[in-house]
């Protein structure tokens, strides 16, 4: 990869891999299915970088990524994206 860590870039919000155990709880609170969430490609640079971080490993399609944005309206906003293959 590269000499830089894009997770530290100003424009990249926090991305966290949601543990499989917590997925159901999140989906229930939002009242949606995995397929209805916004998507993020598995080949997305952030996902590829996240896989290299210690203690995360391979991220397979179907997992949920929690994104914590610095929101201009809410202060902090949490959203979720489903990982898709290609």
């Amino acid at each position: 990869m590269a000499k830089y860590n894009i997770l530290m870039h100003e424009m990249v919000p926090e991305h966290w891999l949601v543990p499989v155990k917590e997925e159901e709880k999140i989906l229930k609170s939002l009242g949606v299915t995995k397929g209805q969430l916004p998507k993020i490609r598995r080949t997305d640079p952030v996902i590829k970088t996240l896989e290299k971080a210690p203690g995360i490993g391979e991220i397979v399609p179907g997992r949920i990524i929690e994104i914590v944005r610095k929101s201009r309206t809410r202060g902090i906003a949490k959203i979720y994206r489903t990982v898709i293959g290609e």
Partner: protein
């Protein structure tokens, strides 16, 4: 650790794999270097497929019992001790000397690129004030939710006005009520409202592209053309540009900023030299212009090693004073002309795509900043002295490729708001956030319109109503598409109440038991 690399055929690689340990003869001169203990072989020029442990690099002297890359003109013998199959991208390596690896006639000495240790950022939520945190938790206990921003304002107000506990609870209750009221109602047509809110002030925007706007001496597309560019998700904007910030050590030093700006400006051979073609004798002559070279901060010694990388086989390079002569072993009109064409666009310095770079002093932040025409985010972020975490480009597609969809979403909001603000228009940011959320919904940046999200609606009738009606209807007929009539456009077509507002609500009667 330096590694030797070259390009070979798959057949040869398989042969070495079979017969190792063995000597292997290559057809180029490699200086004997004892520090090289490893070799990588590529077939495609994109990935290395074999890694070999080598013990000796020596000139070829007609040894027997060795494998040969070619039948004749062999020059170097390397002794391969062990070889194994691997998979590694060429981009992970950097060339130190020699030519480029993706050329059959050359070898390169490479090193593995430094890799950043990936650390995760801190949780933003963890950094919140403890009072704010406890307030949010308290509200959540009752099944409500409060945005962080409002919670922060509430706690600040409590401190500022010295509100007592009892009154504060009343305040929270009133805030929650107001907050719920301001929310969007179910089945509100947010998309239409958003389109109106951007479209109406948009009519007042300039149709013309202004030049020299924003930063001095720099072309930036503004106004309506820029807004259209953003929502169309063009591959490259008409005026790509970057803002490069420097690291703490370098940002106060003008000399460092200027030299960095110079080193990224892409300079082609034609910028610093005249090129003459002699077709009768079959050579190309490069006449270096001393003055132009000085202006660009380029030395003659820097050009020569770069020229060796030219992607033409069997090119002979000879030097005279301020002249470089390139000829072919077997010159032909076509080859010489091809060589000339290659040389015209040959890049001797800088990063791909960056046409110009200027340095300006930011009075507010008290630091030197580099502005560029043309964009190469991945290239610039790798450079020393560059604060990659703040470095930005206005090319949204490039951002999505280098920094991911979420950063692209951020960029769309940032670019569209700043375009509207520059025109003196105040559009609520929520509309632009909706637009960028829709554009990045699928994980890619998609345009709004025929090729993007409007062309991907689930309903045939809605698509047909938008554009190219007959094409959509015909295709739907051919594959037997079903329209569930869930959306708005399709229900208008068939004459039913639309699924918006009260039209979307169905009454049902539950009998009391």
């Amino acid at each position: 650790m330096t590694i030797l690399a070259w390009k070979d055929t798959l057949k040869k690689v398989k042969e070495i794999l079979e017969k190792a340990p063995i000597g292997y003869c290559l057809d180029y001169e490699i200086p004997a270097d004892k520090s090289i203990k490893e070799a990588l072989i590529t077939v495609t020029g994109k990935t290395f497929i074999a890694k070999a442990k080598i013990s000796k690099i020596a000139p070829y002297q007609n040894e027997k019992n060795v494998l040969k890359k070619k039948k004749d003109k062999l020059k170097t013998l390397i002794t391969i001790e062990k070889i194994e199959e691997i998979q590694d991208d060429i981009v992970n390596y950097e060339e130190v000397s020699g030519g480029s690896v993706d050329k059959v006639l050359s070898f390169a000495v490479i090193v593995k690129k430094e890799e950043a240790k990936i650390e995760l950022p801190d949780h933003m939520e963890g950094k919140l004030n403890s009072e704010v945190k406890s307030l949010i938790r308290q509200v959540e206990k009752d099944g409500n939710s409060l945005p962080v921003k409002i919670a922060e304002q509430l706690t600040a107000a409590k401190k500022h006005y010295g509100i007592g506990e009892k009154d504060f609870e009343k305040l929270i209750k009133a805030t929650l009520e107001k907050y719920k009221e301001t929310g969007v109602d179910p089945y509100e047509a947010v998309g239409i409202v958003g389109a109106q809110s951007i479209g109406e002030p948009g009519t007042q925007m300039t149709m013309r592209t202004f030049h020299f706007a924003g930063v001095a001496e720099m072309d930036v597309t503004l106004g309506l053309p820029r807004l259209i560019e953003i929502v169309d998700a063009r591959k490259t904007p008409s005026t790509p540009s970057m803002t490069i910030f420097l690291t703490e050590k370098a940002r106060g030093d003008e000399d460092r900023a200027v030299s960095l700006a110079r080193s990224i400006e892409s300079t082609t051979l034609l910028d610093v030299a005249d090129i003459e073609v002699n077709t009768t004798e079959g050579y190309v002559l490069i006449l270096l212009d001393k003055q132009k070279m000085q202006e660009r901060g380029l030395k003659r010694e820097e050009i020569m090693p770069k020229l060796k990388k030219i992607r033409m086989q069997k090119t002979v390079i000879s030097e005279e004073e301020n002249k470089i002569r390139l000829s072919q072993e077997e010159p032909s009109y076509k080859k010489i002309y091809q060589l000339y064409e290659n040389l015209k666009t040959f890049q001797v310095k800088g990063l791909d795509g960056i046409k110009r770079a200027i340095v300006k002093f930011d009075q507010k932040a008290k630091e030197w900043v580099i502005y560029t025409q043309g964009s190469n985010l991945a290239g610039v972020m790798e450079l020393k002295d560059v604060d990659y975490a703040r470095t930005k480009t206005n090319d949204i597609i490039e951002i999505s490729q280098v920094l991911g969809v979420e950063a692209a979403r951020e960029a769309i909001i940032e670019e569209s708001t700043s375009t509207l603000h520059n025109a003196g228009l105040n559009t609520d940011i929520r509309h632009l956030m909706l637009v960028s959320d829709m554009m990045t919904f699928s994980g890619n940046v998609e345009a709004i319109g025929r090729h993007g999200i409007s062309g991907k609606k689930a309903s045939v009738l809605a698509r047909a109503a938008f554009e190219i009606t007959s094409k959509h209807l015909l295709n739907a007929g051919l594959i037997g598409e079903v329209d569930k009539l869930n959306g708005v456009a399709e229900n208008i077509i068939v004459g039913q109440p639309i699924t918006l507002g009260t039209g979307a609500v169905k009454l049902s009667y539950r009998r009391e038991e």
